[in-house]
């Protein structure tokens, strides 16, 4: 069996989990094993529809009185118990914060190596040949994973989610046997962000500014307000200057975005930044320097001062919507 830990919102599979199931489905076919998913929470059974679409035959739906709140070790214990006794060849999860955390605990409990940020995997006898990202994807590692149970996470937005026409997965209610120690770390509460609007990581359009803004993000805010599902981000340089909070930082150590259009303004395009925006479908850059690194990565560019261009774009949008 190949077991995929999936995340969902009210029973609707998230993008990274759909991508993970797609990779896991191909892997399961390669090792001639069934693909099962494991989902947590009161709406876990509802995941059966989406998981089936992506190739899972069974969803192990975990409901437990002690798991109302997210508890990483308890989740990991549950994943391990679900995998044990079934001859599980691999446990796979999205390389999100939660997926990475749960599988790191699971790998430690299984005393197995975990391969993180995987983008390709092929069976090779009892082992797997795999490719994983390093340096946020600016470098790829080809490696051989040899373990009784292979544990791996899938780099988000690197595998295209590919649905099949399969029926919904069967639901297998799964109740773990938890101990007090498994529950010593639990999310106490969740606090909503003060930030209004669309979260950076979920925006369809991201407008961002770097050193070229000289700290003035007003025009960028105005542009984002006029665009649907848009958010404002910043480069590391702008954050380091104290012009924007760290939560706005796009980059390897900040938020990784995947919008339909990314509009970097006054951002040169350092490697650290490009790692954060390489999930963007298209890039429209505004920069005074035609030789800036970002221009080489962009689909379109306006070679001009952002403080003149961005207000003009706002005016043009207003004119067309009058």
């Amino acid at each position: 069996m190949v077991l995929a830990f999936v995340e969902h919102d009210g029973g609707e599979l998230d993008d990274a989990s759909a991508q993970t199931l797609t990779l896991a489905r191909d892997l399961a076919t390669g090792v001639d094993e069934p693909l099962e998913a494991i989902a947590f929470g009161p709406e876990a059974t509802a995941v059966a529809h989406d998981a089936g679409v992506y190739g899972a035959t069974v969803v192990n739906a975990v409901e437990h009185d002690d798991l109302d709140n997210y508890a990483p070790e308890a989740y990991a214990r549950t994943v391990v118990q679900c995998a044990e006794g079934t001859g599980t060849d691999a446990v796979v999860a999205p390389g999100t914060d939660r997926g990475s955390e749960v599988l790191a605990h699971a790998a430690a409990k299984l005393d197995e190596t975990m391969a993180a940020e995987v983008v390709e995997v092929d069976p090779d006898g009892d082992a797997y040949q795999l490719t994983r990202q390093r340096w946020g994807g600016t470098l790829l590692e080809h490696a051989r994973l040899d373990a009784d149970t292979k544990v791996l996470t899938v780099a988000p937005n690197e595998v295209s989610a590919s649905p099949t026409d399969d029926d919904p997965a069967d639901v297998n209610p799964f109740t773990p046997d938890l101990e007090a120690g498994d529950l010593r770390v639990q999310c106490l509460r969740t606090e909503a962000s003060d930030t209004e609007g669309v979260p950076l990581g979920e925006a369809r359009i991201v407008v961002s500014g770097g050193r070229g803004t000289d700290g003035d993000f007003e025009a960028l805010e105005e542009l984002a307000e006029r665009l649907p599902d848009a958010a404002v981000g910043a480069s590391r340089a702008a954050v380091n200057e104290g012009w924007r909070p760290h939560d706005d930082q796009i980059g390897q150590t900040g938020t990784k975005i995947a919008p339909e259009i990314y509009i970097p303004c006054g951002i040169s395009g350092a490697v650290q930044h490009m790692v954060g925006c390489k999930g963007a479908e298209n890039i429209l850059a505004v920069n005074t320097d035609p030789d800036a690194a970002i221009v080489g990565k962009a689909d379109w560019v306006v070679v001009a001062n952002l403080h003149e261009v961005v207000p003009a774009v706002v005016e043009e949008l207003d004119r067309r919507t009058e």
Partner: protein
């Protein structure tokens, strides 16, 4: 309060990555080295916590003798002690975590808090801190961007889409942090000079097995074809809006 912060010496890769001839490593002959941004924040946090609560901050790394440079950087930032688990070999995350856990167990100090970066900038394995916590049977919170210690309890915050999760764990505990937790300080020249003379505690780590065998590295091809120039003045605004309309995002 006794705090141990684990760090890693990583190449600075702001410039183009070049591989060694056998393609098993980055050619660092023209690159400098640094500490990952997440780990710089871990060092800063440890120094601030010791300033607030007393005790001492120890910084530890597993790596070659050259990694003393990063230990001294941490000492210049205010860490009290540096420990090097010295090896010239390349170690994977499982072996690294086991060696760090063994070093913590063998140490004379009872650490209240073990700090890690959430993941290293180069290998991005996302697991050393968690594995150390598992090996030492300690609670672990990962990806932390807010940390408060009061009366032996750590309150940790981490980002989720649209908000923040809050955790409370009793010490001793393991916390892995992300950049944004704090603003790492720039050490003074005097602190840097003093750090150069600091004693580094060198130890031989015990080697454990890793199941992931590196075959080779690859620098992926990138499409650096020139962008379509929409204009060179604010007059290009109409073309910008045309693109947004053509792409059906407005």
């Amino acid at each position: 309060m006794e705090i141990l912060t684990a760090i890693k010496r990583v190449p600075e890769t702001g410039s183009k990555i070049v591989l060694t001839e056998d393609r098993t490593a980055i050619d660092t002959s023209s690159l400098g080295f640094t500490v990952s941004p997440h780990e710089e924040c871990a060092i800063e946090e440890s120094v601030q916590l010791v300033e607030e609560h007393g005790g001492s901050a120890t910084v530890l790394t597993l790596g070659s003798g050259d990694a003393t440079e990063q230990l001294r950087s941490a000492i210049a930032m205010g860490a009290d002690h540096g420990v090097l688990l010295e090896t010239e070999e390349r170690w994977g995350p499982a072996a690294t975590a086991r060696a760090i856990a063994s070093a913590v167990e063998a140490d004379d100090t009872d650490f209240d808090l073990l700090l890690f970066g959430n993941e290293s900038a180069d290998a991005a394995n996302h697991q050393v801190g968690v594995r150390v916590a598992e090996a030492l049977d300690l609670p672990c919170v990962t990806g932390v961007k807010g940390l408060d210690i009061t009366d032996g309890t750590a309150t940790a915050e981490r980002d989720i889409p649209g908000g923040t999760e809050v955790y409370e764990v009793d010490l001793p505990a393991v916390v892995t942090v992300k950049e944004g937790l704090n603003e790492p300080r720039y050490p003074s020249m005097r602190a840097k000079m003093q750090a150069r003379k600091a004693d580094i505690d060198r130890r031989d780590p015990e080697r454990y097995r890793d199941g992931l065998e590196l075959i080779e590295l690859e620098v992926p091809e990138t499409d650096d074809s020139p962008a379509e120039i929409l204009g060179e003045s604010p007059d290009a605004a109409a073309e910008v809006v045309d693109v947004l309309e053509d792409q059906e995002v407005i």
